[in-house]
């Protein structure tokens, strides 16, 4: 008989409660992304507009000749609009493989044979993508607000524009939620992350081009409802209390975004299963 059996041992330690496994998935997804140097470079580059705006705030606060550069509420809306480009890239780079890769490797049956629900699995995947999206939208925008206060040495701007923090939060939330849900839904439709990336880009460009074409033909901006990107602009303009780019009312834009998120959830409910039953 061996002195100490180095083979299989029973585990006598602690086991965590159910309901927190989504964080294990999210943490693994985030760490995996951060290991990629190219992705890190993109994340750093996505903060370039922030640096430009911060310098602009510094100059306008410290040099009276540059007072024309002083930020307004619209500065923050414009900043978030600029970040759309990075949101697009990050969504594609992080999101396209989130479920597609798991489907390719048959990982869903591994995940769902563990004590976690489909909702936890999807939450983990969603959080992985949303963390990076929030990092390129809400975090720099709120930091800009803080920097503006620090450079100007007063809270007057913030007190005069108390709506800014909630406006930034709502606009960034609409942008990140729609992008994340739409990308996850597309990622669940294929086993190829490349195909998913192309599908996502296709949807964004096609709907935008369709809106432009319909606007040219009919002369009405109401057709912006076919373009998710334009609907986000409408919501953003509404929350920042500026004139909207189209004649679509904010509640309609919110409804369109909610419908798209609802459709994504429906797709995910049907496609994320450990066993695909083909009848």
């Amino acid at each position: 008989m061996p002195i100490h059996d180095q083979g299989y041992q029973r585990y006598k330690g602690h086991r965590g409660p159910h309901g927190r496994r989504w964080w294990v998935i999210a943490r693994a997804g985030i760490v995996e992304r951060l290991r990629e140097r190219r992705f890190l470079a993109l994340m750093l580059f996505s903060w370039a507009p922030f640096v430009v705006r911060a310098v602009q705030m510094y100059v306008s606060s410290n040099f009276s000749q540059a007072a024309f550069l002083a930020p307004s509420a619209d500065t923050f809306r414009e900043f978030l609009e600029q970040q759309n480009f990075f949101v697009f890239l990050v969504t594609i780079l992080v999101g396209s493989g989130l479920i597609a890769n798991d489907k390719r490797a048959n990982a869903l049956q591994i995940y769902l044979s563990k004590p976690l629900t489909r909702v936890e699995y999807l939450t983990g995947k969603l959080v992985t993508l949303m963390v990076f999206l929030v990092f390129v939208t809400w975090v720099p925008a709120v930091l800009l607000l803080v920097i503006q206060m620090m450079f100007s040495g007063s809270t007057a701007f913030i007190l005069d524009n108390l709506f800014l923090f909630p406006a930034i939060t709502v606009a960034a939330a609409a942008q990140t939620l729609l992008s994340a849900f739409a990308m996850l839904a597309l990622s669940s439709l294929s086993k190829s992350r490349r195909f998913v990336a192309i599908m996502y880009a296709g949807v964004i460009f096609f709907t935008s081009a369709m809106y432009q074409a319909l606007r040219q033909i009919t002369g009405s901006t109401v057709w912006a409802v076919v373009s998710p990107e334009d609907m986000l602009d409408v919501i953003s303009a509404g929350t920042f209390r500026t004139a909207g780019p189209t004649s679509v009312p904010v509640p309609v834009a919110l409804l369109v975004v909610a419908l798209l998120i609802g459709t994504s959830v429906w797709i995910l409910e049907r496609r994320v299963r450990a066993v695909e039953v083909v009848t």
């Binding site: 180095q6 083979g7 299989y8 041992q9 029973r10 585990y11 330690g13 602690h14 086991r15 965590g16 409660p17 159910h18 496994r21 294990v24 998935i25 693994a28 995996e32 493989g97 890769n101 798991d102 390719r104 490797a105 048959n106 990982a107 049956q109 591994i110 995940y111 769902l112 044979s113 563990k114 004590p115 976690l116 629900t117 299963r273 450990a274 066993v275 039953v277 083909v278 009848t279």
Partner: protein, 306 residues
């Protein structure tokens, strides 16, 4: 006798209009149980239903005393599942993958990593544990699937065709592992396979499924010794008519190899009775040898009866 680890009560699973399992009632005792059946018998469907991945259309199931419908998460925390097809988490090396699976099962991070190393050594992947799983051979992928099923120390293991695609040496090693888990490590397991020798070597009890229903079940030793004697014989002449005659005379008979048949003669009859029947049918017995009952006989008997 210990409580069964799995009980099925009139379970039915349907894919569209096709019943994959129909009115399955069975009890899987503690220990190593083989779930035997030809391809398409419903073995994998049954395992997926027990895991809660498929909702049965009829019936009730209990695993480790818990109702599958009501407590799927509590059940999945106590079981390990080794799927039949290739399955891994993409982009991870073996130790990260297995530790990740342990964390998903609720183990703290440090414990998960320690268990991952231990289990990978146990399944024979210690030296390759820092390699990306996607670079593994088929045999290594089977082992890592076993490791991820074992890492959280389940009370019950579901192994779905664990020797699929393995070379003979790898297959023997895998069977040794399975046997060791079941007989020396105190884990219960259900081994689904269509390979009779695999089940016979590793399990003590068997449930035979055929066409979505239980064909037979019981301890392997008991089923093998179902009374009577077994003879291997080869005949010259109209073999089909001879088989029909044997069956009419109450002698179960099936072909094991090309032209060798195995006949189950009742205890009160012997080889002479076979010769008499052959003479009556004008068939020449070219080879006759007493044999021992095998699981293959049990399987053929059970499936053949249906």
């Amino acid at each position: 006798m210990a409580d069964p680890v799995v009980t099925l009560d009139r379970v039915g699973v349907r894919y569209g209009t096709q019943w994959a399992l129909r009115d399955v009632t069975a009890a899987f005792p503690a220990g190593a149980v083989g779930l035997l059946g030809p391809n398409g018998a419903g073995k994998s469907t049954l395992i997926k239903a027990l895991l809660g991945l498929l909702a049965p259309d009829t019936g009730a199931m209990r695993v480790l005393g818990l109702d599958v419908k009501q407590s799927p998460l509590s059940i999945r925390a106590r079981i390990g599942y080794m799927p039949e097809s290739d399955a891994h988490i993409p982009g991870m090396n073996a130790v990260s993958f297995v530790a990740y699976c342990a964390e998903l099962a609720g183990l703290p991070r440090a414990d998960a990593m320690q268990r991952a190393h231990e289990v990978l050594y146990y399944v024979g992947l210690g030296e390759a544990r820092y390699r990306n799983v996607e670079t593994y051979s088929t045999g290594m992928k089977q082992r890592i699937k076993l490791a991820q099923a074992l890492v959280h120390d389940p009370d019950l293991l579901f192994l779905d065709e664990p020797t699929n695609g393995m070379d003979p040496k790898g297959r023997d090693e895998m069977l040794e592992l399975v046997r060791d888990i079941a007989h020396h490590k105190g884990l219960n397991l259900i081994l689904s396979s269509h390979l009779l020798p695999d089940v016979e070597y590793t399990c003590d009890h068997v449930v035979v499924l055929d066409k979505g229903a239980v064909a037979t079940e019981g301890p392997i030793a008991g089923l093998k010794g179902h009374g009577g004697r077994v003879f291997e014989l080869r005949v010259k002449g109209d073999a089909d008519r001879f088989v029909a005659t044997l069956k009419a005379a109450g002698i179960d008979c099936h072909e094991s190899e090309e032209d060798v048949m195995r006949a189950f003669v009742p205890e009160d009859r012997g080889a002479r009775y076979l010769f008499e029947l052959a003479a009556r049918e004008g068939v020449q017995v070219r080879h006759l040898r007493p044999s021992v009952p095998t699981l293959e006989d049990v399987f053929a008997h059970a499936v053949g009866e249906r």
